[in-house]
Symmetry: C2
């Protein structure tokens, strides 16, 4: 159970220093749940996640929160209650043991952990002297995440795992998110326990950075499948086919994919899909652009030459720049292409 996979060796080594009695206890029982939780980044995703977390952990457990915008933490304290507002991120890490971060960009993650990790006295001098578990739910590039993970592990103050999510704001509010996790095998049980308080599925893909890599590969694929679906539906309808008949055929054939079946870009084909609500809600084109950009960066770092991705990025950027498409679900590419609505 404590076996460390080959690829996780350096991290496993760092973690073995932390595998003291407190750590073992957490794997054997759920009494760890009486420990403190920290939450940094109460944005559109973080806020509802933190709300679910506070509702699911015992009332006696401490929860310490922080956000760059003080109005947000105050609003959270008022709406949800039973939380302590920290004046900075270091204070969150000093007072709690399991710390979640949900931040928008790589530099935010770097900056937050730079503040958290120095001085390296969280275990030796802080009010709470247990090893820390840092779960970063931000979607950033794997290289930055790896640097932060290494800095955390070499500081010997805790373990760092990447756990980007899918499911959007709706999933965050409903507690139905899917988390893709990169963590050493010997830390996954506790990670699963925590994330299950905010989501429905926790998929462990391998050692640290694997969660991010999986999410970026999936979203690269999704980015292309979505444009392909918008194009196929557009051409079929321009050729004179009935949109519903075409979608039904595709969804019983080899063209079937999430964008054709669950998020069809033609208004009315899938009840309640964003297409039928003027492309409101759903997965914003700007978020897809962000993920696609991260995937392309990670490709460049690994000497992978992306083929269709760069063209897809241009299409999403152009759609996001069009007045009637801006700020909408990424299926709005259908409208951008001139699709009949």
């Amino acid at each position: 159970m404590r076996a460390v996979t080959a690829t996780a060796a350096p991290l496993g080594q760092a973690f073995s220093n932390l595998a003291g009695p407190a750590c073992r206890r957490s794997f054997a029982t759920s009494s760890r749940l009486d420990a403190g939780y920290g939450f940094i980044g109460l944005g559109r995703m973080g806020y509802p996640m933190a709300k679910n977390l506070r509702a699911k952990i015992p009332q006696s457990d401490t929860m310490v929160i922080h956000d760059v915008n003080p109005a947000v933490t105050e609003s959270f304290a008022k709406e949800v209650g039973n939380v302590e507002i920290a004046k900075n991120v270091r204070e969150v890490a000093e007072k709690t043991e399991t710390i979640l971060t949900v931040l928008p960009q790589p530099h935010h993650v770097q900056s937050v952990f730079h503040q958290i990790l120095k001085p390296p006295t969280l275990i030796t001098e802080a009010p709470n002297r247990r090893e820390r578990l840092f779960i970063d739910c931000s979607t950033i590039d794997p290289r930055t995440s790896s640097e932060v993970a290494n800095a955390t592990h070499s500081s010997q103050q805790g373990k760092f795992v990447d756990a980007p999510m899918s499911g959007g704001v709706v999933g965050a509010a409903a507690g139905t998110l899917t988390f893709m996790v990169g963590a050493p095998a010997d830390g996954i049980d506790r990670v699963r326990e925590v994330l299950s308080l905010m989501g429905r599925r926790v998929i462990h893909l391998g050692p640290p950075t694997s969660g991010l890599k999986g999410k970026l590969a999936n979203n690269y694929l999704l980015a292309l499948n979505n444009i392909a679906t918008c194009e196929a539906m557009h051409m079929g309808i321009k050729w004179g086919l009935d949109g519903q008949a075409l979608a039904d055929m595709i969804n019983s054939a080899t063209g079937k994919c999430w964008p054709s079946e669950a998020n069809n870009p033609v208004p009315g084909v899938v009840p309640n899909a964003p297409a039928g609500k003027d492309y409101e809600g759903g997965f914003g084109t700007s978020l897809m652009l962000k993920d696609l950009g991260l995937a392309l960066t990670a490709c460049a770092q690994a000497d992978v030459v992306p083929r269709l991705g760069p063209y897809a990025k241009d299409i999403y950027a152009a759609a996001e720049g069009a007045e009637d498409c801006k700020g909408r679900d990424f299926s709005v590419v259908y409208r951008y292409l001139g699709g009949k609505e």
Copy 2:
């Protein structure tokens, strides 16, 4: 039941001339199955389809076959038996009533029907004086198909429907093909009856050319989804992820599509997929190139600007031109990209 949809009006009109007692009988009973069948084009798809047809129709029914290659028809007569070999395609049409064509290129379809339709005496003077039902299972461009359909209908010798298929050689042999049909509503029952002898599903998409349009839209989508899957699997594995773990995650997430789930390009991920057999069998890259080319032609004819398709075509062409990829299943794009096997 005999209502003609608005878009099918001109064809419906032509067909109303043919709706004599023989025609009505065919919809009400299956006694039409005692009539003669013609089969033109016994290639890789046509041969096993014709074989299934001969096996499923009563032994007393006539079957007349033709192929440009006489060795093939002789071989068929020897292997299957109970068929008459026609010396040309006109003879097939003169002696039978339901005629299937399975031809490789648009010009083959044009040429065959040019020979079949002249002189326009099939109903007035031929040995069999019933109206003809021509079912063209070739995958060609909708414009050519429309021209041939119009020529057939204006000659008043029968009706012409397009019924391209999916399922490949394996599906043709097993009789599990899916047919996408473009036919007037009042002719679909008999078409369904005939095609069900060679396939499992018959999807009626609308008036003539709709079957082809549906197939081309679906395969355009599939062409892109396949490259996207090859790219996503390649980058994930290059980043260090386990191929099986990545595929499992994608297939439970928004990246799921036919190429990721049923035809995963990474050897061993999907048992019996072509990837695990050195990319043998499956759907040849050259066929995908053909369909993609037809879709792009149809886009140009309808003033639709394809976005990712032209780039995809370049990738398939380059893969088909690579020594270790040529002549293999289209998932071989993964190998072409340098994917780890």
